[in-house]
Amino acid sequence: MFAISSIGKKLLEKLQRKPYRHAYLAEHVRRGIAYQIRALRDQRKWKQGKFAEMLGKPQSVACRLEDPDYGKVTIQTLLEVANVFDVALEVRFVRYSTFISNTRDVSVVSMRVPEFNDDLGLAAQQNKKIANRLTLAALEPTAASAIQDAETVSIVDWPGRLDFNAVSATSHLQDLLALKDYTGVSAAIQTELLNSCVIADYAGVTAAPAEAYHA
């Protein structure tokens, strides 16, 4: 349920005006698509040229897709972009409260989406199982870990608190264990950890102290 208090009073007042409301919606949709395409490309560490090549279009088109002022992207193009990133696309009409709620977090992290293989692919499932078992069996209470809906493994008690998707978790866990005491980690778990790194694909998030955001 959406809490009205989560949006500014001034914004709520302005949304009562139909022209403002419609312009606000259009601006969010245009800007959101442009920013998310950039975020997805950055997540995959692709240059704009590579993205254009994968899309089968000139680089000028890729550049336009990342321009919040462009605003003429078609659903067909969005589907092609979704296929290039191997992510799903959702286009639907919703009530304004849902829209406002869904657009409160427009951070870079919120815009990242794993490709299918890291989401529902078999390797991802295998890694999730391993990460869950490692976290539960070996690292507690050393790293006070928590598993969030089997998709994200959070390791607290570590500089900056790192959140990893399960695919990358095993390689990070190996780093963690390399620096920490192996007491309590069984030989079987250690072997599994090493084996898992063969299939673990490093795609982790780098933790940065808050000051770094303003540098």
Partner: protein, 129 residues
């Protein structure tokens, strides 16, 4: 929402919010574009403030940055990073055609206002869109 930046607005010597004055005179479309452009920027680290949504000027204006957006024509919100480390202060709004700002002296106004805010942090306040 994780805001990494506080957006502030320049205040004139008699305490008037000069950015809000400009903003209030704009159409609903421009006002919405300002709000949304800033919503995205405040949730981004400094390195993500880049073209096409933002650009730093050069030469004697190098401390001035402009938030860029288009609503029928190009608009610029001129501001600077400060007075404190996590602030971005809005100094002036303008439309732009080619190399020309409207109002024409928008850049000089922004530079002068930035110096006033730097000299006295009370010459700005947190603004809300």
């Amino acid at each position: 929402m994780l805001a990494l930046w506080t957006i502030r607005c320049y205040l004139s010597p008699n305490g008037r919010d000069m950015f809000d004055d400009w903003h209030g005179r704009q159409s609903d479309e421009v006002q919405a574009a300002v709000a949304v452009a800033l919503e995205y920027l405040v949730q981004r680290p400094r390195k993500e403030w880049r073209r096409p949504a933002f650009d730093l000027l050069s030469g004697k204006m190098r401390e001035i940055g402009e938030v860029r957006f288009k609503v029928d024509k190009q608009y610029r919100i001129l501001g600077f990073f400060g007075p404190t480390r996590s602030d971005f202060t809005l100094l002036a709004g303008a439309s732009k055609k080619g190399n020309n700002y409207d109002p024409r002296n928008a850049l000089e106004t922004a530079l002068d206002r930035m110096n006033q805010v730097k000299a006295d942090g009370r010459r700005s306040r947190v603004c809300d869109f």
